[in-house]
């Protein structure tokens, strides 16, 4: 049974839960943590925090407070590593204008880090993934391929692409979210573990529409397509591909691009569904604000049941 104050709960696979406190304020809550995706502990801390905060931005909310969730092999890794991870998280949360007010650490074989984040939003201004309408255009704010390039990093290959992927993952979605508040956002989500195709599917299914993705318009991280063609595709991408039966591809879409569309993203970009008439202005405003990769990647075609066609 759903409480009447729950505006967004667990039934629509959205990015965060939203609970209405009163007529002007709703609480937005989310939690995410994972194992190191890069070797540098400070960067890992930054990326984990940017990733956790992203769910708040994807709901149109402002982050206020955060709690650290830490697993660390005490005695097996130097204490400086733990401190560097926490410093990375601390700096990123401060950049977001929020504050860490606590946390919990357990002893574990492999390090893990992330945060539980709380934010607020006006109850009438919540962005869900379920409001996309026929005629909307999809705008994506970060380049794709972080999972593939994390594989490349482990293989010691494609350093240029890896560097770009790390910079992208550590970047907050704050600017993109702030710019988009001046536009009519029908739906928003962030691209994470289910890959572009998976999160577009959630938006399409939640909104009961069909969506077309233009594969030639996808912003790609440098060397991501090359790395995919070499077989540096994470297992999660194949799992997403198997699960997402409602995604079909035109014959002309190259295999590496298909892989990238299923590639699990860490701290990926925001995906907005906006009216076609506003898309051009939104992209211009995003790019002017420094969100350089902002691109129109597809459109909502009709009412439907979550079919995705990639052409």
């Amino acid at each position: 049974m759903q409480h009447s104050n729950v505006l967004v709960g667990i039934t629509t696979s959205d990015d965060a839960g939203v609970y209405k406190l009163n007529e002007t304020t709703a609480l937005v809550q989310t939690v995410d943590f994972f194992t190191p995706i890069v070797d540098d502990p400070y960067l890992f801390g930054q990326i984990a925090a940017a990733n956790s905060l992203s769910d708040i931005y994807a709901m149109g909310a402002t982050p206020l407070t955060a709690l650290n969730l830490v697993a660390f092999p005490n005695g097996k890794l130097p204490q400086e590593v733990l401190l560097a991870i926490l410093r990375g998280g601390q700096d990123k949360v401060a950049e977001a204008g929020a504050v860490i007010i606590g946390g919990h650490t357990i002893d574990d074989n492999e390090p893990k880090y992330g945060l539980a984040v709380t934010g607020t939003v006006h109850p009438d201004r919540v962005w869900t993934n379920a409001g996309a309408q026929p005629g909307d255009v999809l705008v994506l704010t970060k380049a794709l391929g972080t999972g593939i390039l994390a594989s490349a990093a482990r293989a010691g290959l494609f350093p240029r692409g890896v560097e770009a992927a790390v910079a992208g993952m550590a970047a907050l979605n704050a600017v993109a979210a702030r710019v988009a508040t001046d536009f009519t956002v029908h739906a928003c989500t962030d691209i994470t573990g289910f890959g572009l195709s998976g999160h577009v599917y959630e938006m399409a299914a939640g909104s009961k529409v069909s969506i077309i993705i233009d594969s030639t318009a996808l912003p790609l991280l440098p060397e991501a397509a090359e790395a995919a063609a070499m077989g540096l595709v994470p297992g999660g991408a194949y799992a997403n591909r198997k699960y997402l039966e409602s995604v079909t591809f035109a014959d002309t879409v190259p295999e590496p691009i298909r892989d990238i569309s299923f590639d699990p993203q860490t701290s990926g970009g925001l995906l907005f569904a906006v009216p076609e008439g506003e898309a051009g202005e939104l992209i211009k405003a995003l790019q002017a604000a420094g969100v350089a990769m902002a691109s129109k990647i597809g459109c909502v075609t009709s009412e439907g049941s979550g079919k995705i066609y990639v052409r």
Binding site: L218, P219, M230, V233, G235, A237, Y238
Partner: protein, 200 residues
């Protein structure tokens, strides 16, 4: 010829691909068999073989995959197999490159692909004899080109690299030419009409 068997069962991604890469690099010619225990690793190793111009065959046994590839003869066979009989006996392989990206569609992807193409060309045997650039293709042979290293390596191995003079003039980069020689339309027409030519 030597046979190599690499057991990658139990390895996490991208372990099997790295092991395959190492095995291919360490083998001059011979059969390489990679054993993996999951489908993702099977597909990735197959992709890696294809990216290195090695055909591969997969056998499945008790949920494990045995991927076999042959290094050495495979490349020679495929290159010879595509040669056409209608060219003179001394016909050589020519690549005519007509733009600074590969294929039609996203220019960003095209830039990625041309780089991947040139890098792969370094591994292909026999190497082409002549690479000719026309229109925006000439930008690949000038300073700042993303594939300058690859073209320079090919030129060092005896590949003739030619850029259309009219095109260099048009893009105002003749003084920036960093690899190979300037050529003219007469030479281009003569070369492509008398040799097996791939146009990109």
């Amino acid at each position: 010829m030597s046979d190599k068997i690499i057991d990658c069962r139990g390895m996490a991604c991208p372990g099997p691909v790295i092991s395959t890469k190492k095995a291919i690099e360490e083998t001059d010619s011979g059969k390489i068999t990679i054993i993996v225990d999951n489908e993702a690793a099977k597909i990735n190793v197959t992709k890696f073989a294809a990216a290195n111009n090695l055909g591969s065959a997969v056998e499945s046994q008790d949920g494990h995959y045995y991927i076999t590839m042959i290094k050495g003869t495979g490349q020679a066979v495929s290159a010879a197999g595509t040669a056409s009989a209608s060219y003179p006996a001394d016909s050589v392989q020519v690549y005519l490159i007509t733009q600074d990206t590969l294929g039609h569609g996203s220019p960003e992807l095209g830039a990625v692909l041309i780089k991947a193409f040139m890098t792969t060309l370094l591994e292909v045997k026999p190497a082409p004899s002549v690479i000719m650039m026309i229109n925006s293709g000439v930008k690949l042979a000038v300073n700042g080109s993303p594939v300058l290293d690859q073209l320079t390596t090919l030129a060092g191995r005896g590949v003739t690299v030619l850029s259309c003079g009219t095109c260099l003039d048009y893009y105002q980069c003749k003084t920036e030419l960093a690899v190979g020689e300037v050529t003219n339309m007469y030479t281009i027409v003569e070369t492509i009409s008398q040799n097996k030519t791939v146009t990109l």
